[in-house]
């Protein structure tokens, strides 16, 4: 091994390398193979080097703590910089010397110039040379470094000219690897196992790929794990485990080029380069050119991307706790929202596609859209009002139209081109920074793609992309949008698997994002109405609160209960099934003939491929065991300071699911009736007003929120249809109502001895009393059949005070 490769401690040969080459006799063949192996390893020993990146803090920037959980490329790098700078550590990357002029190939780690203090290349003999970044390659995810001093005692054997690979199985890759502190060279034959499956064959080409990924270079430690990078080795160097160069050798053991680990090898160099000559002289950008391009891109987009503020309706206190749809949506979108989710407003950024129309690449849910009260677009220093046109069915984006005024600039989404694999393009993400619009522009490229839902293309970008990112070509034209792929019936996914969608890990990722190339986008924009999701629209507060009903209350079965009821088979050991224990009058359930004691098993809807198995709780032994209904109870308790009404909450699992399917949808309900399975058609109907959506009267000074007596309250309290009363929904602290010891969920049956039947009527009586400047008002309170009298002291209340 010699002195000059003192850090190369061991050589490991992988696989049955070279064993089957050449037609000669066994011994001869063996000797020949050994010689070639040694030639390749020698090439590796001489060409591989270690590069050290040292970072600095740019003067104009104060680096601050970064949220660990935001795996956004820029923030992540920032996080690294912080560590490197604070600890004065260098980042260690494997480099490959391409020529004796001092060009070194390293993986593209996307470091900005302003953070780089200096770069050093450590030759195999330990000599350190200063280096600069010469070029960002266009046809390989790599950077070319140039050593700025002449090389001493660093000689390498020249490359052999070869511009295509006929049989990937006859190519070898030499890579420098590290395990702990031990550095070693690996020698692998590429894709040996798959050599027969597509060698030189174009049948498995996917949109012009010249090689299948089976012929890729193995990755070693490809996983980009931040923790794997921190390694307290002696000199405090850190190892970057991203793409590293491998030396490619032909079957004669002669070096022919270099490729990056973890990538498919493009045998014909149609899209990506590996030949040394092409790597050295191929297209690319100097980092000065890149900075200039990024700056130009920012300027170009600054006039086309606008800040778009969504202002939401504030829902009243008593309804806030019940907005489960919104909670559900929020949990589904965790980590993919733009701006702050303060509950009252959200800041997003919209791209102008015409002087009055903008597209907002933000996946908005039904509950959220329903609550939008106002949309504001910031143009220069003016704020223009806009309205929601609609949200797309397939892509997590929506359109808004200006109500007044015009936008100074817009983008015509006409660019048909999509970038080839490995080629550089720019990405632009708008975000809020110190209260101002900030465009984050970065170079990126994609390495692989796959077909997904409805034949959409999913690409794997080199640098992670946040959803809502625009893609631009080098001429700064918009070529695509990276956004969430919405799938049909996705809102129902959580319900289908039973129980609480909130804690389903798969939902937390926010679904899958892909690139929607411009032709796809312009098709959507040409006829947006045809592509809108009709369920995503603005709703009045009242409309938003109204829900649907089957008209039953139920209990979840569970294993023991299923056994006792002898329905183990039908209920799959009690894992599914809702045991009906109440049927509301005049409800769809009553009309269908469902009876107390029936067990609802499944619902089939055209929106889901499989029937939804009804189960309000997740399995007894499930780690995330969480009962939907328990959660509701908890919300109630939280909302009312411990008080809980003696009537059922209508916002249960079944109702939420039916509501998600949608009013007017036809579904098939399968249930057990007297031991027999029945399947009936059901058209989902809007429910009468329930306690949540009941008409109400609120007077803050008096301290009362009063609601109509609704059907489920009557059923829960066993009141007849003729019972005249209103329900106390809320009592303000310190108010006359509180002093009179009126409690939430009590009934008020009379005011001054005359009965009261609706919140509206109650409100009029209060208002009249205030107009007449009455000192007090006597209410008759009913609590589970026991009545008492309570005086509301009105003497301190101004007439016409807020309601």
């Amino acid at each position: 091994m010699g002195e000059r490769s003192r850090w190369i401690i061991g050589v490991v040969v992988l696989g049955l390398v070279l064993s089957c080459l050449g037609p000669a006799g066994a011994d001869e063949k063996e000797a020949e193979a050994a010689a070639r192996r040694e030639a390749m390893l020698e090439a590796g020993r001489t060409r591989f080097c270690r590069t050290h990146y040292y970072f600095k803090r740019p003067e104009d920037e104060k680096l601050s703590g970064v949220d660990m959980f935001m795996f956004d490329a820029e923030q992540f790098t920032r996080f690294q910089y912080d560590h490197f700078i604070d600890r004065q550590m260098s980042l260690l990357m494997v480099g490959l010397l391409l020529d004796e002029a001092g060009h070194v190939l390293v993986g593209d780690m996307h470091f900005e110039d302003k953070y780089i203090d200096r770069i050093e290349v450590e030759a195999p003999d330990g000599t350190r040379y200063p280096a600069v970044r010469a070029k960002l390659l266009d046809r390989a995810p790599a950077v070319l470094l140039k050593i700025t001093e002449p090389l001493e005692n660093w000689e390498v054997r020249g490359f052999v000219e070869q511009d295509r690979i006929e049989d990937p199985a006859r190519v070898f890759a030499v890579s420098l690897r590290r395990t702990g502190r031990r550095w070693w060279l690996s020698l692998e034959r590429m894709g040996a196992e798959f050599a027969y499956e597509g060698a030189g064959d174009t049948s498995d080409r996917l949109s012009g790929h010249s090689a299948s990924s089976f012929f890729g270079i193995s990755t070693g430690e490809e996983l980009f794990n931040p923790f794997a990078m921190f390694d307290g080795s002696r000199r405090g160097g850190l190892m970057a485990v991203s793409r590293q160069p491998s030396l490619l050798c032909n079957e004669r053991g002669e070096p022919i080029g270099a490729a990056l680990s973890g990538l498919p090898l493009d045998c014909r160099q149609e899209e990506a380069d590996w030949q040394h000559e092409r790597l050295l002289n191929g297209p690319g950008l100097t980092f000065a050119e890149l900075s200039e391009l990024v700056e130009k891109c920012r300027e170009e987009l600054a006039g086309k991307i606008y800040k778009c503020r969504l202002l939401y309706r504030l829902t009243g206190g008593e309804s806030r706790g019940f907005d489960f749809g919104a909670i559900l949506e929020r949990s589904m979108r965790m980590g993919m929202g733009i701006g702050e989710d303060a509950g009252k407003e959200r800041t997003t950024f919209a791209l102008a596609v015409s002087p009055t129309r903008l597209i907002v690449p933000y996946s908005i849910g039904r509950e959220e859209a329903a609550k939008i009260e106002k949309i504001e677009i910031t143009v220069a220093d003016k704020t223009l009002e806009a309205e929601l046109v609609g949200a797309f069915q397939e892509i997590g984006a929506f359109l808004v139209d200006l109500k007044e005024g015009m936008l100074p600039a817009a983008t015509a989404l006409t660019q048909k081109e999509r970038p080839d694999r490995m080629r550089l393009f720019l990405t632009a993400t708008a975000e809020e920074k110190f209260g101002k619009k900030h465009l984050k522009v970065q170079p990126n490229r994609w390495l692989r793609e796959a077909r997904g839902y409805k034949n959409g293309y999913y690409i794997s970008p080199v640098h992670a992309l946040p959803q809502g990112t625009w893609l631009l070509n080098k001429s700064l034209e918009v070529i695509g949008l990276y956004a969430r792929q919405r799938t049909e019936g996705e809102e129902l996914r959580g319900f289908a698997s039973g129980g609480m969608p909130m804690f389903m890990m798969s939902e937390l990722t926010g679904g899958h994002a892909r690139v929607f190339w411009t032709p796809e986008l312009s098709e959507l924009l040409a006829d947006p109405i045809a592509h809108f999701d009709p369920q995503i629209r603005h709703k009045t507060e009242e409309e938003a609160k109204r829900t649907v009903w089957l008209g039953v209350e139920y209990i979840s079965l569970g294993r023991e209960l299923a056994k006792q009821l002898n329905v183990e088979k039908e209920s799959k050991d009690g894992t599914i099934g809702l045991y009906v224990n109440l049927i509301y009058k005049n409800s769809p359930a009553e009309k269908m003939g469902i009876k107390n004691g029936d067990i609802l098993l499944r619902i089939e809807t055209r929106k889901r491929p499989d029937p939804i198995e009804l189960s309000a709780h997740r399995g007894e032994f499930d780690f995330f065991s969480f009962d939907w209904e328990d959660f509701m109870d908890y919300r109630y308790v939280e909302e009312y300071g411990g008080a809980k009404p003696r009537w059922p909450l209508r916002c249960n699992y079944l109702t939420m699911m039916l509501r998600t399917i949608g009013v007017g949808e036809k579904v098939e309900l399968t249930y057990l009736h007297e031991g027999k399975l029945e399947t009936k058609e059901l058209v989902i109907q809007q429910a009468p007003r329930d306690f949540t959506s009941a008409k109400k009267f609120k007077h803050k000074e008096v301290g009362l929120t009063i609601k109509d007596l609704t059907y489920e309250v009557r059923a829960g309290l066993r009141l007849g249809d003729d019972k005249q009363a209103v329900v106390v929904a809320k009592v303000e602290p310190g108010s006359p109502a509180k002093v009179a010891k009126i409690m939430p969920f009590e009934l008020i049956t009379a005011v001054e001895g005359t009965s009261v039947g609706s919140a509206e009527e109650f409100g009029e009586r209060i208002k009249k009393a205030l107009t007449e400047k009455r000192e007090s008002l006597r209410l008759t309170i009913d609590r589970l059949g026991k009545t008492r009298l309570a005086d509301l002291d009105l003497s301190q209340i101004e007439e016409g005070a807020s309601e």
């Binding site: 224990n581 003696r646 002093v739 009298l789 309570a790």
Partner: protein, 257 residues
């Protein structure tokens, strides 16, 4: 006892620290003793009217009246309802005796007076309603049991009790006669099964439960049955809704420590 050694009250409930205690005054005792010596039982009348002080500082409700007591409510199907009393009336006279219920402290005396009315004998009530004075006639009936009987389902680690309208009005509201769970012990089988205090027991297995004797009978029969799997389906009424609970009593909590 007082300092002369005379009995002034009988202690019924004391807090161990001695700070607070409850006692039955000797006057009350003497009255009841007299009744017990006479008929052998205390006869109480039930009118079904619910009273509230005229000046009720608790709910800040004050009425302009110098005498009488406020009727806050009238129980359904009660003599008071039959007599035509209504919520909001002021009762100022009973059989010619003035009623004074200005403050909450005076209410027990009125309740006692009403309870002492001769059963099944019409009583004349003087009532004020909306400024008018009415004379109503009310015939009290015999008051039923105040406390239901109770029973300890030892093996299930819970106690049950009969519902009465006087002590469990909120349960009586849902079910006029029946049995409710007075307490569940922790740890215990009832607790494990998810039964809760104040659940009204409707059925054990397939047996309908209406009285404490029903529970006793069904419980004893189940416990005696050695062969059966020690699980039974219990149907309870909780907040107006029927709930099904599987009582698994294979484990004997009292045997294990």
């Amino acid at each position: 006892m007082d300092s002369k050694g005379r009995v002034v009250g009988i202690n019924t409930l004391g807090v161990w620290t001695g700070v607070m205690g409850f006692a039955i005054p000797s006057n009350e005792c003497r009255r009841i003793i007299a009744l017990l010596e006479g008929d052998g039982k205390v006869v109480r009348a039930w009118t079904g009217m619910e009273i509230q002080a005229l000046k009720d500082f608790d709910s800040n409700t004050f009425l302009d009246s110098d005498d009488g007591v406020l009727i806050k409510g009238v129980e359904e199907l009660s003599p008071a309802e039959q007599a035509g009393l209504a919520s909001g009336d002021i009762l100022f006279e009973v059989n010619g005796e003035k009623v004074h219920g200005m403050y909450v402290e005076q209410l027990p005396a009125i309740r006692r007076a009403l309870g002492d009315l001769p059963v099944e004998e019409p009583a004349a009530l003087g009532v004020r309603r909306d400024g008018r004075t009415l004379q109503l006639t009310l015939t009290p009936v015999l008051k039923g049991a105040v406390e239901g009987k109770d029973f300890d389902c030892r093996r299930w680690n819970m106690t049950v009790k009969g519902i009465t309208k006087h002590t469990n009005p909120s349960l009586y509201y849902y079910r006029k006669k029946g049995v409710f769970i007075r307490a569940v012990r922790y740890p215990g089988n009832a607790n494990q099964a998810g039964l809760k205090r104040h659940d009204v027991i409707l059925r054990i297995g397939t047996e309908e439960i209406e009285t404490i004797e029903d529970v006793e009978r069904v419980y004893e029969a189940l416990i005696a049955e050695e062969e059966r799997e020690k699980k039974v389906l219990i149907t309870v009424l909780r907040d107006g809704l029927e709930q099904l609970v599987v009582m698994d009593y294979r484990k004997d909590y009292e045997k294990e420590d």
